[in-house]
C-alpha cells in the first residue's frame, strides 16, 4: 500500500515537472527573439568595429537589428519560432569564442533562438547535450565531431527524429553517415598540405611540427598534411599542453637544440606557435615559423615579420554558416554545398593582410 502511494506521488511529481517543462518552452517561443541564451556581444558582426560591438550590449538592440536585416517580414516571423542548438567540444578557448560569436551573429541576423552548448572536450557531455536538444524539440542541431564513434549514433538519432543536423569543424568524414545536411569546416589534412607548400616556397629544409595535444586526430592530420607536401624532412612531436607554456617552450627548445638541421617550425595551434617562436629566439636560431589559427599576439608577430604565416580556418564561418543552413532548410528547404562539405579554410594570414585581420581579430570575429 505504502509503495503504491509513493509511486503515485512520484508519478504526480513527474507529470508536474513535464508540464512545467513544456510550458517553459512555450514561453520561450512566445517571447521570441530576446529571450535567448546567446551572449550579448553577438551583434558585433556588422562591420566588426569594436566600439559598436561593445556599445550594443542589449538583447533588444540585437533583436532590432535582426528585424532590419531580415529579407522578408514573413521569414523573420517564421524564423523567430525556431530554436537551434550548437553542440561543440568547445573549451571556450580563443578559437571557440570566435565560433560562438559567429553563431550569435547568425542568430541575431536571422532572428532565431540559438543555444550554445560547450562540451569541454568531453564526448559524454556532448552526447547529453545532443539528447537534451532533441528532447527540447530543437529545430536544428549543429555539432562538431571530435569523437565520431561516440557522437554519430546520437546525431543519427536526431536525424531519425526529424531534427536536421549540420556538422561543423571536425566531422568531414562522418557527416554523410549521419545524414547531415552538410559539413562546415576545414579539412585538416588539406590545411596541413597548404602549410607544407608555404614552407617549400620559403626554402625550408627541416620542419618541426609541434602538437599541443597528444590524442587529437585533427592536430595529427595537420602534421600529416605537412609531411605530404613538404619536400624536406618533417619531425613531429608532442610539446606539452597550452596550459603550461613554460614546459611547452622548454620542450620545443630541447627538440630544436637536439637537431641543428631544424630550420622551420609549424605550431598546430596559436599558443604553441608563439612558444616555438620564443624557443627559437632563445636558441638564437634562424627558424621560419608558421602557425595555425589566430590570436592578436600571433597576428602581431606576423605583422612584425617574426612569423611567416598562420593557417586561418575562418572559424567565424563555422559558427555562422551552420545556423544559416539550418535556417534555410527549415524555412525554404534549401541545402547548400550539393552534398559536399563547405570548406571554410585554409585561408592564410601573412604579412600582406595581417594588419587588417588584426583589427578584426581584436573585435573577436577572426
Amino acid at each position: 500500500m505504502k509503495k503504491m502511494m509513493r509511486l503515485l506521488a512520484l508519478l504526480a511529481a513527474f507529470t508536474l515537472f513535464a508540464a512545467a517543462c513544456s510550458s517553459s518552452t512555450a514561453d520561450s517561443t512566445a517571447t521570441g527573439d530576446d529571450d535567448t541564451e546567446t551572449t550579448d556581444d553577438g551583434s558585433s558582426d556588422d562591420g566588426g568595429e569594436e566600439e559598436e560591438a561593445t556599445e550594443e550590449d542589449g538583447g533588444d538592440d540585437a533583436g532590432d537589428d535582426a528585424g532590419d536585416d531580415a529579407p522578408e517580414e514573413v521569414d523573420a516571423a517564421q524564423g523567430s519560432d525556431l530554436t537551434f542548438h550548437m553542440i561543440t567540444h568547445s573549451d571556450d578557448g580563443p578559437f571557440w569564442s570566435v565560433v560562438n560569436r559567429g553563431m550569435d551573429a547568425a542568430c541575431s541576423d536571422l532572428g532565431v533562438t540559438c543555444v550554445w552548448v560547450p562540451g569541454n572536450n568531453d564526448a559524454n557531455v556532448m552526447v547529453q547535450g545532443i539528447e537534451g536538444a532533441i528532447g527540447e524539440g530543437s529545430d536544428g542541431i549543429a555539432a562538431s565531431l571530435p569523437d565520431p564513434a561516440a557522437l554519430v549514433p546520437a546525431l543519427q538519432g536526431a536525424v531519425e527524429g526529424g531534427v536536421p543536423v549540420v556538422t561543423l569543424n571536425s566531422g568531414a568524414n562522418d557527416y554523410q553517415e549521419i545524414g547531415a545536411l552538410t559539413h562546415v569546416g576545414q579539412t585538416e589534412f588539406i590545411a596541413g598540405q597548404a602549410a607544407g607548400e608555404r614552407f617549400n616556397a620559403a626554402g625550408v629544409t627541416h620542419v618541426l611540427c609541434g602538437q599541443q595535444e597528444q590524442n587529437n586526430v585533427g592536430l595529427t592530420e595537420r602534421c600529416g598534411g605537412l609531411e605530404d607536401t613538404f619536400s624536406g624532412t618533417v619531425t613531429t612531436g608532442f610539446m606539452d599542453l597550452d596550459a603550461d607554456t613554460t614546459a611547452q617552450q622548454a620542450a620545443i627548445n630541447a627538440a630544436m637544440a637536439a637537431d641543428d638541421s631544424i630550420d622551420g617550425f609549424l605550431g598546430v595551434g596559436p599558443v604553441i606557435t608563439l612558444s616555438g617562436l620564443r624557443a627559437a629566439s632563445d636558441l638564437g636560431r634562424d627558424v621560419t615559423v608558421g602557425g595555425f589559427d589566430l590570436t592578436p599576439e600571433l597576428l602581431g608577430e606576423i605583422e612584425g615579420g617574426n612569423i611567416l604565416f598562420t593557417v586561418d580556418q575562418q572559424q567565424y564561418l563555422q559558427g555562422y554558416l551552420p545556423i544559416l543552413q539550418l535556417f534555410l532548410f527549415q524555412t525554404n528547404s534549401n541545402t547548400i554545398g550539393g552534398g559536399l562539405p563547405i570548406l571554410t579554410g585554409p585561408g592564410f594570414v601573412d604579412a600582406s593582410n595581417a594588419a587588417d585581420v588584426l583589427a578584426l581579430s581584436e573585435a573577436g570575429t577572426r
Binding site: P94, T246, N253, A254, T295, E297
Partner: protein, 659 residues
C-alpha cells in the same frame, strides 16, 4: 631492520649510557635522521649504522638519487643534454613547477591538498595584467605596476586564507573545498578576461608604469654569450678537482677507524700521490694525443690509489691480517653469471650500428631494441657482480677486493667497447671517462677496505669533520658547475654553441626553496606543520593552533601561485585564460616524487624541489634524446612508480618500529 630488534632493553640505566650523548646531540644537524647509533657497546642488540646508512634514510635522498640518475641517463643517451643551453632549459621549467611543488609539499605535509593551486597561478597572472592594462575598450584598470604587485599579492593571500577558512569551517576534505575554488578561479579567469578585454588571453606591454623596475626582478636574464671569461676553465677545474678530492677524503674520514696517534709515515706516500695527481692533470691539460691521455689517465689512477693509501697510513687504523681470498660457491656462481652477462652485453653492443646514430636512441626501433638489450644485459651483469661483492664482504675484505677487481675490469672492458664503436666524441670521451672513473672508484675503495679498518662504532668527531668536508666539497663542485654555466670562453663562442639565457626565475626558485626548507626544519611553524599533518588531534591537545597553521599553509601555496603568476606574466607578457589549469596534479606528483607522503606528516621542501627537477629533466631530456614523444608518459609513469617505491622503502627504514 632485524638487527635493531629490541625490547625496552635500550631504556638502559642512565649511568650506563651517559657518555657520548651530548656529542650525539651536537652532531645531529638534520631533522629526520634516525641515529640509533649512539649506544655504546652497552647494547649488543643494536647494530651500528654508519653515517652513510643514516644519510640514506633522509626523506629527500630518493629524489636526490633520482635527480642524479635521470640526469646521468639523459646525459648518456643524448648529445646535448648536459650543455649550458639545455641545463638552462630544464632548470627554467623546474623553476615555476618547483616553486609550486615546494609550496604544495608543505601543504601536503600539513595534511591538506590544494587543487586550485594550478588555476591560481594563471589567475594571479591574469589579475595582475588586468590591473595594469590600459583601460581602453573596457580593458583593465590601468594602474601602476607599483600598486598592482602588492594588490595582486594581497588577493593571492586572501584566496589562500579563504581556502583555509573554508576547510576549517566546513570540516570537509580540502580536496573538495579547493576543487570548488579551482572551478571558481577557472571560471573567473575566462569570464573576467572576456568581460574586460573581449579576448581569451590578456596582454600587457612594457609601457605600463613601473615596468622597467619590475621587469628585471621577475624576468631578468643572464645571457651567457655576453659574459666571456677565457680563464674560466682554470677555476672550473680547480674547484671541481678540489671538490672531488674533498669528497673522497671526507668519505674516508667517515668510513675508517681513526688512529689513536697519527703516523707521519703516511705523509711521503700521500705527497707522492698528490704530486702524481697534479702531474696527471697537467699532462691531460697540455697534451692532446690519445697515447698521452691514456698515460695521464694511468698516472692519475695510480696516484689516487697511492695518495689515499698514504692518507690511510697517516690517519687510519691498519688491518692486521685481512685474510686470504676465500671464494665460496655462491660467490663464484654470481661472478660467473655476471661476467657472462657483461660479455653478452659487449657482444650485443657490436650489433649496434653506430654509424646510424640517428635512430640509436629511439625506443622501439631495431637499433633502439639492440641498445635496450645491451643495457639490460649489462645492467643484470653488474647487478650480479655487485651481489657477489656484497656476499664476498661477509667473508672478508680481501675476497671483496678480488670480486671488485673483476667488476672494475668488466667496466673497463665495457667502456673500451663502447668507445670503439661510438661515433660521437661525447660518447668516445666523456662517457668513456665516466666508465673509467667508476671502475677506478670501485677498485680503490676496495683496496682501502682491505688495508684499513672500517669503522663499526660511533666516532662523532670523525663524522662531524667528514660532514663538514662533504659539505664543502659539494659546495665547491656546485660552484664549479655554476661557473661553467654562467660564463663562456672565446673558443666556445667561436664554435657557435647554442646560447643560454639564465633567467632570474631560477633564483626565485632556489630562494623560495631555501626559505621554505628553513621554515619547515627550523621554526615552530615548521614543527607544527609536521604535527598537524601527522596527527592533528594530538597536536591540538598540546596546544598547537592547528587551524591557523593550516590556513597559513594555504596562504603559502597561494602566495607561491602569485609568485609564479608574476613570473609567467612578465615572461610571456600575455596569458591565456586556461594558463595553469590542470597543473595542480603535476605539483602534487613532483612533491610525491620528492618524498612527500600523500597522507601528510612527512616530507621535505628540498625533496619537492628535486622532484620538480626530475620532472623537468624528463620533459627536456626526452626531446634532447629525440625520442618519439608518444612514449613520454610511459617514461614519466615509470619514474613516478620508481620514486614512490624508493620513497616508501626509505621511509620504512627511517621509521621502522623497534619493539
Amino acid at each position: 631492520m632485524s638487527e635493531t630488534t629490541m625490547d625496552e632493553g635500550h631504556i638502559s640505566n642512565a649511568d650506563e649510557a651517559g657518555q657520548g650523548h651530548e656529542a650525539t646531540a651536537v652532531a645531529t644537524e638534520s631533522r629526520e635522521t634516525t641515529k640509533s647509533a649512539a649506544a655504546p657497546a652497552a647494547d649488543e642488540r643494536l647494530a651500528y649504522r654508519s653515517i652513510f646508512q643514516r644519510m640514506f634514510v633522509q626523506p629527500e635522498i630518493g629524489a636526490i638519487i633520482g635527480v642524479i640518475g635521470v640526469w646521468t641517463f639523459f646525459w648518456a643517451v643524448s648529445l646535448n643534454f648536459g650543455t649550458a643551453g639545455q641545463t638552462q632549459n630544464w632548470l627554467d621549467t623546474a623553476s615555476t613547477l618547483g616553486i609550486m611543488a615546494v609550496a604544495v609539499s608543505m601543504l601536503m605535509i600539513g595534511g591538506e591538498f590544494d587543487l586550485s593551486s594550478g588555476a591560481n597561478t594563471g589567475a594571479m597572472g591574469i589579475l595582475f595584467i588586468l590591473l595594469i592594462k590600459e583601460v581602453g575598450e573596457l580593458g583593465g584598470l590601468g594602474i601602476s605596476i607599483w600598486f598592482a604587485v602588492p594588490i595582486s599579492f594581497a588577493a593571492a593571500l586572501l584566496i589562500g586564507y579563504l581556502n583555509g577558512k573554508m576547510v576549517e569551517r566546513t570540516a570537509l576534505p580540502s580536496f573538495i573545498v579547493t576543487l570548488a575554488t579551482f572551478f571558481i578561479l577557472r571560471g573567473l579567469k575566462l569570464g573576467m578576461s572576456k568581460l574586460l578585454t573581449g579576448q581569451i588571453s590578456v596582454t600587457f606591454t612594457d609601457e605600463a608604469s613601473g615596468y622597467d623596475f619590475w621587469q628585471p626582478i621577475f624576468a631578468g636574464e643572464w645571457i651567457r654569450n655576453e659574459h666571456i671569461w677565457n680563464s674560466r676553465d682554470i677555476f672550473y677545474l680547480g674547484f671541481a678537482i678540489g671538490g672531488a678530492i674533498l669528497l673522497a677524503l671526507s668519505m674516508c674520514e667517515m668510513h675508517f677507524v681513526r688512529r689513536e696517534t697519527k703516523s707521519a709515515a703516511g705523509f711521503p706516500v700521500l705527497g707522492a700521490g698528490a704530486a702524481g695527481v697534479g702531474v696527471a692533470i697537467f699532462l691531460m691539460h697540455t697534451t692532446d694525443g690519445v697515447n698521452a691521455n691514456a698515460l695521464a689517465a694511468a698516472v692519475l689512477g695510480v696516484s689516487v690509489l697511492v695518495g689515499l693509501i698514504g692518507l690511510g697510513m697517516w690517519r687510519y687504523e691498519p688491518v692486521e691480517s685481512p685474510g686470504g681470498i676465500r671464494l665460496t660457491g655462491k660467490i663464484n656462481m654470481r661472478i660467473a653469471i655476471g661476467v657472462a652477462l657483461v660479455g653478452a652485453a659487449i657482444l650485443a653492443s657490436f650489433a649496434i650500428d653506430s654509424d646510424n646514430a640517428e635512430t640509436l636512441f629511439f625506443p622501439f626501433t631495431v637499433q633502439g631494441l639492440r641498445v635496450v638489450l645491451m643495457m639490460a644485459l649489462g645492467g643484470a651483469g653488474f647487478t650480479l657482480l655487485t651481489w657477489a661483492a656484497n656476499l664476498a664482504l661477509r667473508v672478508n675484505p680481501t675476497t671483496k677486493l678480488a670480486v671488485s677487481t673483476i667488476m672494475a675490469g668488466a667496466i673497463v672492458a665495457f667502456g673500451f667497447v663502447i668507445r670503439a664503436s661510438a661515433e660521437a666524441t661525447k660518447f668516445r670521451t666523456e662517457l668513456f671517462s665516466v666508465f673509467m672513473f667508476a671502475a677506478l672508484g670501485i677498485f680503490v675503495w676496495s683496496v682501502m677496505s682491505v688495508r684499513f679498518k672500517e669503522r663499526r662504532s660511533v666516532d662523532d668527531g670523525a663524522d662531524a669533520l667528514g660532514m663538514k668536508g662533504l659539505g664543502l666539497g659539494i659546495f665547491m663542485l656546485v660552484l664549479a658547475v655554476i661557473l661553467r654555466h654562467l660564463f663562456v670562453t672565446q673558443d666556445e663562442l667561436d664554435a657557435m654553441v647554442n646560447p643560454a639565457r639564465f633567467s632570474v626565475r631560477m633564483l626565485w626558485f632556489f630562494a623560495f626553496t631555501a626559505v621554505m626548507a628553513y621554515l619547515l626544519a627550523r621554526t615552530r611553524f615548521g614543527s607544527w606543520t609536521f604535527a598537524v599533518g601527522g596527527n592533528a588531534q594530538a597536536s591540538r591537545q598540546v596546544g598547537v593552533p592547528a587551524a591557523r597553521t593550516k590556513t597559513q599553509l594555504f596562504m603559502i601555496v597561494s602566495g607561491a601561485a602569485w609568485l609564479v603568476g608574476m613570473l609567467l606574466a612578465f615572461r610571456l607578457s600575455s596569458l591565456q585564460a586556461g594558463a595553469g589549469d590542470g597543473e595542480e596534479f603535476e605539483f602534487i606528483i613532483a612533491a610525491v616524487v620528492g618524498g612527500t607522503l600523500l597522507t601528510g606528516g612527512y616530507g621535505t621542501a628540498i625533496g619537492a624541489s628535486f622532484g620538480a627537477a626530475i620532472m623537468a629533466m624528463s620533459l627536456v631530456g626526452i626531446q634532447s634524446a629525440r625520442w618519439n614523444t608518444d612514449w613520454r608518459f610511459v617514461f614519466l609513469g615509470v619514474i613516478l612508480l620508481l620514486a614512490v617505491i624508493a620513497n616508501r622503502y626509505i621511509r620504512d627504514q627511517a621509521t621502522a618500529t623497534r619493539r
